[in-house]
Every structure is written in structure tokens, then in C-alpha cells.
Amino acid sequence: MIEVESLSKRFADRFAVDNLSFTVSPGEVLGFLGPNGAGKSTTMKMLTGFLTPTSGTARIMGFDIQEDPVAAKRCFGYLPEGAPGYGDMSVAQFLEFIADIRGLDGARRQARLDAVITDINLQDVQGQKLDTLSKGFRRRVGLAQAILHDPQVLILDEPTDGLDPNQKHEVRKLIQGMAKDKIIVISTHILEEVEAVCSRAMIIAHGKLLADDTPANLSAQTDSGRLTDYFHHITAGGLS
């Protein structure tokens, strides 16, 4: 479970996230939608304990991210915006470092490393330094790092940004494959992605929750039946 309780973040005089509450249960793939600057990344940064909320809190699998951060952080894998990684390390070294920090050892460590490298097709770049990778490969390494310890909760900030259509398709397949018993939260502004992988969509703008339903139900609220139109109406102020 992810439980978010009246989470707010204020920067100077502006609320980036304004009193957001929701819960996500196992089996759900939640798509976080919103225009740029809506507060998607800020919310994810607070969920993962990188940013301290101005008020409110979040619990990951029952662990409060502020009171018991290390326990909460063990439960999730996180792909930050832009998929940062240590440029001076090779892909293999980087993933081994993450495996060690995640406390994987022995046979399980090797098995997870092998599985992730195969699943994400990183065999050919294992020895390459992160600095020399293309944007698409960097993103995939970021994804590999997030799923390495087979976490219960996955939080992915724009996981398919910068990937070509084939790679996007593969990442979506991967997410769908993991969706059964996990909790997955992804942020994106690609609406087709939400329709393809998400069982639930939340639209936020100016840090406020505007809509929360299945992608199909949201699309059904417009004449055209398209999620794009619903998104445009609600975030441009036409509906609501």
C-alpha cells in the first residue's frame, strides 16, 4: 500500500503540491498525469523521501517516509526524473553498487543482476560507462536499477521519456508484466501510455487533484471518447 495523507509542498509563496491525499493498492498501476509543472515530480520526490513535505506525510507499505525512511526506502524502487546515474561507472559496476546498497548477496544477487540485465536488454552495454550511453540506454539502466531488488512498490518518473517507439513498447510490456501483485506509480505526459498500461489515472494541475478514475471512465466523459480531449478540457479549465 501507498498511503498519501494531505501532502503539501510550498516553494516560496506557491504551492507545488496542495493537500493531496490518495492510496494505491497492490495490483494497481497508477498513471500520474498533468501538464508540466503540475507537481507530478514534486509529489514523487516526497513519496520517495527526497523532498521533505511542508505538511502531510506518506506511508509506503506501512512505513512512514519521514519517521522510518530507511525501512520505507527498502520497499520501493525509484527512477528519478532524467534517470541519473554515476557517469564514471560501467553499467555492470553501477548495478552491482545498487545491488550491494540494496543488501542483495550471494546467489540471489547474481540471479537478480542476470535477470534484470536480460529483461532490459543490457547485455551489449554492460562494460560501457554510463557517460557514453545514449539517452535510451541511460533510461533503461535507470529502470534496471529501480527493479533490481524486485521491490513491492515501483515509482517511475517518466520511464519512457527519450525512448524510441520500440523501446517504449518494451518498457510498457515490462511494466505490464510486473503489474500483477505490485504497486506501480508512473508519471508521464504521454496519454497513450496511460491507456496502454495504467489501471487508474490521476490528473493533477497546480498541485491539486482534478480527476481520479480508470482511463476508460475518464475518456467516456467526453463526446469524442478520447483521453486527450478530457485531459485538455480539464487542465485547460474548460470542464470542472
Binding site: F50, L51, T52, Y78, P80, G85, Y86, D100, I101
Partner: protein, 244 residues
């Protein structure tokens, strides 16, 4: 394995993954050589000791250590890896100490490169090796103090140039805290006790005390407490500034 140790290993390996480490070590050894033999007049003094070698350490560190420290957190913030690191299951203390210990060990490796000079002086005469050992320990502790200051300032800014210049100035102040150059700034308007307290923070005074061969517990505590205090401040600064 302990997270501090994993971070320590990653960081230390990172120094040697780029030319940075080798260039730093070569320049450090070149400069110690130049200072010892030319400015310090190692041969001309006719004494079998390493005083002409250790005298220049504070001044070398003043420039070289801020150069090492300036990238430690500002690079992490620039590359965005700070978000990755601090959302892994590690505490802030583990991250700060792991990075500090890696940089400190790296400086220790550079310092170990000067051991031939110790061998040389033993070949030439009969130095007091206890004094030399004490001076090495003092030098390493002082390096740690410079490093801790540099790390804290590096945490406060994304700009490595600003981190370098400001660290250099702050370290300069601490190096000479016991001397009129710094004390005259304070003695005119601060009570005597405070001025004396500032004077007691001087790196130079504590380093010179240790390098005479007297390892006083108070000097050790001074350097270790100084390091711990600046690292504690670093953790607070990172917490405040990490998302900027």
C-alpha cells in the same frame, strides 16, 4: 555490508576511474618535492629531520584539498545522482561519512607517496622516527579538517568554482586563526575570551604541536571534533539544499 562502506568503496574507485586521481597525486608529490628541497632547504639545513617537508603541508593543503572537496557534493547535485543516492536505503550520515572517508583515504594515498623522503632521511642520517610518524599523523588529521570544511561548502553550492574559492578562504582563516593576521580582525571588538577561543581553533598551532612529536590527546580531539562538527553541518546543509 555496511552502507557507509559500500559508498566509501564506490567513491574511492571513482577517483581512480578518471585521470583526476593521478594528476592530483603527481602534482602533490611534485609540489612537496619543490617545497622541501628548494624553499625548505632540506639538504642545506644539515639536520636529519623532515621539518622542511612538513612545514609546507598546511599551505599545500590549503590549495589542493578544496580542489578535491569542491566536487564531492556539487557534482552529485549537478548530475542529479543525489536524488538517486538519497532515495536508496541509506541514512544521510552514512552518505556523508562514506564520501568523506573515501576522499580522506585518497589524500592518505597521496601522502603515502611521500614515504621515499622518509626513507631518504633515514639513509642520510639518524632522524627521530617517532617525531616523523607523529607529524604524518598530524598532517593527515589536518588534511581531514580541511576536507570537512570543503565538503560542507561544496554541499552549499552547485558551482564548483564558488565552492573552491570560499573553501580556500575559510580554510585560510582556520589555518592562521592563532595569528595576528586573523586575530586582529576580532580582538578589537570581541571580548578577550572569545578571541582566545578563536586562536585555539588554529590548524597551524595544533599541527605544529603534533609535528614536534608530542601527540597530545587534546590536539587529536580537536581535529576529530572539528571534522565531526563540519560533517554534521554538511548533513544539515545537504538536507536544506538538496532539491535546489
Amino acid at each position: 555490508m555496511n552502507p557507509t562502506r559500500i559508498i566509501f568503496q564506490r567513491e574511492l574507485a571513482a577517483y581512480f576511474a578518471t585521470p583526476l586521481a593521478y594528476i592530483f597525486i603527481i602534482i602533490f608529490l611534485l609540489l612537496t618535492g619543490v617545497f622541501t628541497f628548494y624553499l625548505g632547504n632540506f639538504f642545506g639545513r644539515g639536520q636529519a629531520d623532515l621539518q622542511s617537508f612538513f612545514t609546507f603541508h598546511p599551505w599545500l593543503y590549503l590549495f589542493l584539498i578544496p580542489a578535491i572537496a569542491m566536487r564531492i557534493w556539487s557534482e552529485e547535485r549537478k548530475a542529479g545522482t543525489i536524488e538517486l543516492l538519497l532515495t536508496l536505503p541509506v541514512t544521510m550520515g552514512q552518505a556523508v561519512w562514506g564520501k568523506f572517508l573515501a576522499a580522506w583515504s585518497f589524500i592518505a594515498i597521496a601522502l603515502a607517496g611521500t614515504l621515499p623522503i622518509w626513507i631518504t632521511v633515514n639513509y642520510l642520517g639518524e632522524p627521530d622516527n617517532g617525531v616523523i610518524l607523529a607529524a604524518y599523523i598530524g598532517s593527515l588529521l589536518m588534511a581531514g579538517a580541511y576536507l570537512a570544511v570543503g565538503i560542507c561548502i561544496s554541499a552549499a553550492t552547485k558551482s564548483q568554482v564558488i565552492a573552491f574559492i570560499v573553501s580556500l578562504m575559510v580554510c585560510f582563516g582556520f589555518t592562521l586563526a592563532g595569528f595576528p593576521l586573523v586575530l586582529d580582525l576580532f580582538s578589537a571588538w570581541l571580548p578577550d575570551g572569545v578571541t582566545r577561543a578563536i586562536a585555539s581553533l588554529s590548524f597551524l598551532t595544533h599541527f605544529q604541536a603534533i609535528s614536534k612529536g608530542v601527540i597530545d590527546v587534546r590536539d587529536l580531539i580537536y581535529f576529530l571534533a572539528f571534522i565531526a562538527a563540519w560533517l554534521y553541518a554538511s548533513a544539515i546543509v545537504i538536507e536544506l539544499k538538496k532539491a535546489d
